[in-house]
């Protein structure tokens, strides 16, 4: 975790109606750093990375990727929103892995991975397919290239989604609770792929409920509550000896419920499984 910040988030706020989803968040992510974001449901974790990826607009503050302001441009001494194509170009330098995978159902696995490299990054189809097949081998799905997403299990779909995200050669990868929609026995296969990416030096921001993963893989952990960052630091220190009462309470809740607590948490958000959601 050396070098310039790849990503800088400065005092961003985001309101949904009267509710402040993000209430002044600052976050720097260094080149090659792995940051995990933990916190209770509704604390603004997902909104934070959706704002970074320009899937949501922010109401105030600023986000920079490699010192380039995202979503807006300077204009006559002020700022104005960028056009949709420019925003798309900025987005293409980051990748997102979604909780519900969101693979494109009418594309084969291979096509899901090659679509962005070919359409957005202008690579040749042959080159993109070669690279996609290598990526599929790396996530252990080399024999699934010609399947459709519906024909795969949740864990397999999420590994394809990670391969799709890596194929864009992103500067930063954003993960939005990548294991929360998975059956418990499928969580490990996805986490191991993410561990591998972290070891290879990918810059990652991971919103997760997996405290163990946060502790093991992250360079830094951030705890959010009510739209603010309450505590952040090295995961081994922060997760063993929390400084704030609120993080202590959160960790105690997680520990008390353990595995069951995480499942309950998912149900609390009334998240359907992928099959129910998409069919």
């Amino acid at each position: 975790m050396t070098g310039e910040p790849a990503l800088r988030v400065r005092g961003i706020r985001k309101n949904f109606g009267d509710h402040a989803a993000l209430d002044g968040v600052d976050l720097d992510v260094a080149d090659g750093e792995v940051v995990t974001v933990i916190g209770p449901s509704g604390s603004g974790k997902s909104t934070l990375i959706r704002c970074v990826h320009q899937l949501e607009t922010i109401d105030s503050g600023a986000i920079y990727l490699d010192d380039e302001l995202l979503g807006h441009e300077r204009h006559r001494g002020g700022l104005r929103p960028l056009g949709a194509r420019r925003v798309a170009a900025q987005r293409s330098r980051m990748s997102m892995v979604f909780q519900q995978f969101h693979l494109i159902p009418h594309f084969t696995v291979l096509r899901n991975i090659t679509e962005a490299p070919v359409r957005v990054h202008g690579r040749s189809r042959a080159e993109a397919e070669t690279e996609a097949r290598e990526l599929l081998e790396r996530v252990g799905l080399g024999d699934r290239a010609d399947h459709y997403p519906r024909q795969l299990s949740g864990g397999q779909q999420q590994r394809v989604a990670i391969a799709r995200a890596v194929a864009a050669r992103p500067r930063v990868m954003l993960f939005d609770e990548p294991t929360s929609a998975l059956d418990p026995e499928l969580v490990d296969e996805v986490l191991s792929v993410m561990r591998q990416l972290a070891a290879e030096g990918m810059t990652m921001v991971v919103v997760t409920h997996e405290i163990a993963f946060a502790r093991e893989v992250a360079d830094r952990c951030v705890f959010m509550e009510a739209g603010r960052i309450v505590e952040s630091g090295r995961p081994d220190e922060m997760l063993t000896a929390p400084r704030t009462a609120r993080l202590r309470a959160f960790l105690a809740r997680q520990a008390r419920h353990g595995e069951a607590g995480q499942r309950e948490n998912q149900h609390g958000q009334s998240l359907p499984t992928a099959q129910e959601h998409t069919s």
């Binding site: 320009q54 997102m96 679509e115 957005v120 399947h147």
Partner: protein
């Protein structure tokens, strides 16, 4: 218990000495209402067949004589291309209207809603007569800058023929209906798909045409197919503005020969034939757009289960 069980339905070793009840030995239940229903339906079919064969006023020989008459076939051709033209134009304009209704720019939404309200609200027959008489309202049709210079202009009486009036009238009605069907399909595509497409860096146009529209097509095709059948039958209306469609061509014949019933049967047979043909086309389109949406079919093979945590 009758001994009519079929031993092939279960492996022999499944039966043990201790087994007293076995559902494989159960007999078929008699369903009296079904028997009665079947008899009634058969009776109706016989009566209908008897009527069609023995009623001499149907004049099947006349039907046979005119079924492939050149003027009937030419009318059939007109009907089919008119329906296709109205459907294609209607689908394109309807897609634009659907996009307009989902726009975040309010005036565009209002305009689309007004358009759909007007052209769906007025009976197609009235619209056709109206467009046919457009020359009265607008003697000259011109292209130019409003209140400014004119680049080209035409005499409305020359431009508005039965053909153009029919195409315009049917396309306008069709576009209003298609707009609603397409809008329904578009809002049925889950937001996550748009998110994923945008997250990949696709532009709004790429997101729409490559990701959202193909998924919406699954929902659009079935009602869109019914809509095509409606417009195909709706083309019969253009006979009132003297366009030589299928109905008009048989009318011309029976006005001369007074063989009204057999000529109408000729028209009915052709309408049914064309609708049936296009229904098969619709089934094919439905299968095409459902690829990837079933766990089995499609080009891809069915997956083999993998052991848990294969890569962990």
């Amino acid at each position: 218990m009758p001994g009519s069980l079929s031993p092939t339905k279960r492996p022999a070793d499944a039966v043990t000495d201790t087994m007293i009840d076995d559902v494989a030995r159960s007999t078929r239940r008699v369903r009296p209402w079904r028997v009665l229903g079947g008899v009634v339906l058969a009776l109706v079919a016989v009566v209908l067949a008897h009527f069609l064969v023995t009623n001499e006023r149907l004049e099947w020989d006349v039907v046979g004589e005119y079924l492939f008459d050149p003027s009937v076939l030419s009318g059939l051709g007109t009907t089919v291309w008119l329906a296709l033209a109205a459907t294609v134009i209607g689908a394109v304009v309807g897609a634009l209207l659907a996009a307009a209704q989902l726009s975040d720019f309010a005036p565009v939404r209002w305009a689309a809603t007004l358009y759909i309200g007007v052209f769906r609200g007025i009976p197609p027959l009235v619209q056709l007569i109206f467009w046919f008489n457009l020359a009265y309202l607008l003697p000259r049709i011109s292209i130019g800058i409003p209140f400014g210079p004119e680049f080209a202009s035409w005499d409305a009486n020359e431009v508005i023929t039965p053909v153009t009036a029919a195409v315009i009238g049917l396309s306008l009605v069709e576009s209003a209906y298609m707009a609603e069907i397409i809008r329904g399909g578009l809002i049925g595509v889950e937001q996550g798909q748009r998110d994923a497409a945008r997250a990949m860096g696709l532009t709004p146009a790429q997101t729409f045409f490559r990701v959202v529209l193909p998924q919406a097509m699954r929902v659009i095709i079935p009602p869109g197919g019914s809509q095509f059948i409606s417009v195909l039958k709706g083309t019969a209306l253009v006979s009132v503005i003297a366009m030589a469609d299928l109905l008009h061509s048989v009318q011309v014949i029976y006005n001369r020969t007074y063989e009204i019933v057999p000529m109408l049967i000729v028209a009915c047979l052709w309408y049914l034939a064309v609708v049936t043909l296009f229904t098969f086309g619709q089934r094919w389109l439905e299968r095409h757009f459902s690829r990837g949406h079933t766990t089995g079919g499609g080009r891809a093979r069915r997956p083999k289960p993998t052991p848990d945590g294969a890569t962990a």
